[in-house]
């Protein structure tokens, strides 16, 4: 057993309102630079829909992820190492910018600069790639809320798989949102595809990162990732990807997308897993078995044997505690309501989803029946084969049994909790029907419905001081730098270190690099509005000009 820890996420799709707040805040934090205009580390897709980039799930076309060769061994779907090197001069499976979308801005200047004229001037769209005027024809969420569905939806690769059984009828459609980030896979095919070895998985928390200094821009990772969550920065010529906001995670803060999620549907926590079992699990022959196989890779953080092995592997005690309190572990293994996205890609993804019950509830409600009655919901789950099969294509490689089970648990929770909320006697037969006890059902309800910030995000801070923290007491200078480990009793350096966040990053950096303790030397950087007469700008409010080189 080789215990490793993995930072993981679960999203509860029932609660996603498709507001894109997560995408926008992520973009503001990470990809608001030139060269990354078209890059969305976090994007929210309407399903059914084509996704972003268009039809990325069609692996016959894009050849992302892994597959089993004839002898049942894992191989990259796009071909092995030699093949990769032979095609290095022109990557055969790279989506063009058109598959994402051509980013644009508007020439707003004409709105103010235009001479007086009969018609009001318009700001025309300008391509950020070629600088020319352009016609906007696609974007990252062009088919939002099934926009243009009749023209597009039938091209959804997941729908195609079930389309021969049921013709997709737009009027009877169902719809939900699927927010996506990088899956931080246990068996990342992006890393395996990188010729330079620049993509790595961090030993401590499993976050998958691109070393910007080692990346040489071969673009094989873009094709290798079946989720298309690696992007090529066309200005710097380097690959970039979701970082799981590691600077925030390291100090115990949730990712920006989670922090700002309006539906509060994201959960972050640790999973302990057995790294020795990953390859075998990913090589499971039957695609339907991959979901269970991945669950088998996870270790029970309460098992004394696992704890012992984890400690041997250098995982700190507070991390094991966090793994025990992990909402991810509860959702995946205790309640078994979270499912992986596209396990059939065999990358062992680590961002899981609770499939949405709402399409089913809506259908029942439309018929005028009681949409919180267990019997009605169960019957609807059994009857609504199209939505269920569609969900199964997304989350279990097409196996409807686990999806059925999850939806029934959610339905049971709905009707069980209604009795309680109405002040009626809770009906123990409802949890029993889905194989749960009343207590479990209530706990699941708590976690899904009313869990507080600290319960949704259980993130132990990183241990930079590990191992040599004790020596540090004796060897470090008493005036420790910020984050240097030991804190002073009094003054500037006292108290727990301020976590680094987007908001205070500059301030902390200034403090860390300035030579004085209590703030910048002299008046520079200090603002006193009391003696400002309202003319000009108060001294110190802007950094001095020409001083920054």
């Amino acid at each position: 057993m080789r215990v490793m820890a993995q930072m993981a996420m679960v999203m509860n799709l029932d609660k996603c309102i498709g507001c894109h707040t997560c995408s926008v805040t992520c973009k503001q934090a990470w990809t608001n630079r030139s060269g990354t205009e078209y890059i969305w580390f976090n994007n929210v897709e309407t399903r059914p829909g084509l996704g972003y980039p268009r039809t990325y799930e069609d692996q016959e076309k894009w050849q992302g992820g892994w597959e089993l060769n004839k002898r049942g061994r894992m191989k990259l779907k796009a071909g092995g190492r030699f093949r990769k090197l032979m095609t290095i001069f022109s990557n055969p499976k790279l989506p063009s910018i058109g598959e994402y979308y051509e980013p644009w801005t508007y020439d707003y200047a004409t709105l103010t600069d235009a001479p007086a004229q009969e018609h009001s001037p318009v700001a025309r769209p300008k391509s950020l790639i070629s600088g020319k005027n352009m016609k906007i024809e696609w974007s990252a969420n062009w088919d939002d809320d099934l926009g243009g569905s009749t023209a597009n939806t039938h091209r959804d690769p997941m729908l195609k798989k079930i389309a021969d059984k049921v013709k997709f009828e737009f009027e009877q459609t169902f719809m939900f949102y699927l927010p996506r980030i990088c899956e931080h896979c246990l068996n990342p095919s992006c890393a395996a595809s990188c010729p330079s070895g620049a993509i790595y998985k961090r030993e401590e928390d499993g976050i998958v990162l691109v070393d910007q200094d080692a990346c040489r821009g071969w673009r094989m990772c873009v094709s290798g990732c079946p989720y298309k969550k690696i992007y090529f920065n066309h200005r710097t010529g380097k690959a970039e990807k979701c970082t799981f906001c590691f600077p925030r995670i390291e100090v115990g803060l949730p990712t920006v997308c989670s922090e700002t999620c309006v539906g509060r549907l994201r959960y972050i926590g640790l999973m302990l897993y057995d790294a020795d079992k990953v390859l075998a699990a990913a090589s499971t022959t039957d695609e339907h078995g991959l979901y269970e196989a991945q669950r088998d890779v996870f270790l029970d953080p309460f098992d004394p044997e696992v704890i012992r092995e984890a400690e041997k592997a250098g995982i700190a005690r507070d991390w094991i505690d966090a793994a025990q309190r992990s909402p991810i572990y509860a959702l995946i293994n205790t309640f078994k309501v979270a499912l992986p996205l596209h396990p059939e890609y065999r990358t062992m993804p680590m961002v899981w989803y609770i499939p949405p019950l709402s399409p089913v509830v809506e259908v029942v409600a439309e018929t005028g029946e009681d949409a919180e009655d267990k019997g009605n919901l169960f019957a609807a789950i059994d009857a609504l084969r199209i939505p269920i099969e569609y969900l199964a294509e997304l989350f279990t490689a097409g196996d409807v049994v686990p999806v059925d089970a999850v939806l029934k648990k959610l339905a049971a929770m709905r009707s069980y909790m209604r009795d309680i909320n109405m002040g009626r006697e809770p009906d123990a037969s409802i949890p029993a029907a889905v194989g749960m006890t009343e207590e479990e059902m209530y706990d699941m309800y708590r976690l899904l419905a009313i869990a507080k910030y600290e319960e949704r995000y259980v993130i132990p801070p990183a241990h930079a001081e590990q191992a040599h923290s004790l020596e540090e007491l004796a060897t470090e200078c008493a005036v420790s730098e910020y984050g240097g480990g030991q804190n002073d009793l009094f003054g500037e350096g006292s108290g727990a270190p301020t976590p680094i966040a987007v908001e205070n990053f500059q301030m902390l950096q200034d403090r860390q690099t300035s030579d004085s303790l209590a703030g910048p030397d002299g008046k520079k950087g200090r603002v006193n509005l009391l003696n400002w007469d309202g003319k000009g700008s108060p001294s110190g409010i802007f950094p001095p000009k020409g001083d920054d080189s």
């Binding site: 961090r202 990346c215 710097t236």
Partner: protein
């Protein structure tokens, strides 16, 4: 004059080449990339780029053999002058044609595809000019010199190659080069110019050819940098232990 052209200039260029790469590797790892433009345009690139690059690999291989292997060695293993000539000209021509065709496609693409052209830096243009001149001169030497023997026959293996080896051994013999035909002289000089530019252009990607990929494990694990926050400790303040 010939000492200046065929001793001083080459050594200066070589120095710039080596020092430039060291500097770039030390201070600009982030800029060390192919700067691929495939995202913008794929149709022409798909044909042009493999043609050019594989042709170029052949050309480089041919130069290594032609310049570094002395004639006495091939004589010793019984390869006659004629056999060598046929093989060298045949192989060189094939690789050369591939390179030139690929290059023409790539330059055409770069000029005519809007986004690709606007992503082209001044340095790129200078580099392309040098590269194109070197390749054209090289082709000229092969076709005019070795096949059509315009201006008399010239065995570069007794002239240019010997000079090149003497140059690498730091005992340069400028006279050998001074007697070579103009085409060879220019080819060598412009090539050295290109070498001097090399470390400051995207050509550096040649030295990151990822052969290690063939043997390394698929998934790379790395430990988190041993630091909290965004700064590594200042010099002299490194932690103990």
């Amino acid at each position: 004059m010939s000492v200046f052209l065929f001793v001083v200039v080459p050594y200066v260029c070589l120095t710039v080449f080596v020092a430039g790469h060291l500097w770039r590797c030390r201070y600009d790892k982030f800029g060390w990339t192919t700067r691929s433009s495939q995202l913008y345009e794929n149709r022409l690139l798909r044909i042009g780029s493999p043609l050019f690059h594989f042709g170029m690999l052949g050309v480089v291989g041919g130069h290594v053999i032609g310049l570094l292997v002395p004639q006495s060695w091939t004589d010793a293993v019984g390869i006659t002058e004629h056999m060598y000539h046929v093989a060298a000209v045949g192989g060189g021509l094939a690789a050369g044609v591939m390179t030139v065709v690929g290059m023409v496609i790539l330059i055409y693409r770069r000029r005519t595809t809007g986004p690709v052209f606007s992503a082209t830096t001044v340095m790129d243009k200078v580099m392309y000019a040098f590269l194109a001149i070197v390749i054209v001169l090289g082709m000229w030497n092969t076709i005019a010199g070795s096949i059509m023997t315009i201006g008399g026959e010239y065995n570069y293996r007794e002239g240019v190659s010997v000079w090149y080896r003497s140059f690498l051994a730091f005992q340069p013999d400028a006279a050998l080069m001074a007697n070579a035909p103009l085409g060879f002289q220019l080819h060598a000089l412009v090539a050295f110019g290109l070498f001097a530019l090399w470390p400051f252009t995207r050509l550096v990607h040649v030295f990151s050819a990822p052969v290690g990929y063939l043997t390394r494990p698929y998934i790379v694990y790395r430990s988190r940098d041993d630091q909290l926050g965004s700064h590594s400790p200042r010099r002299g303040w490194d932690r103990v232990g």
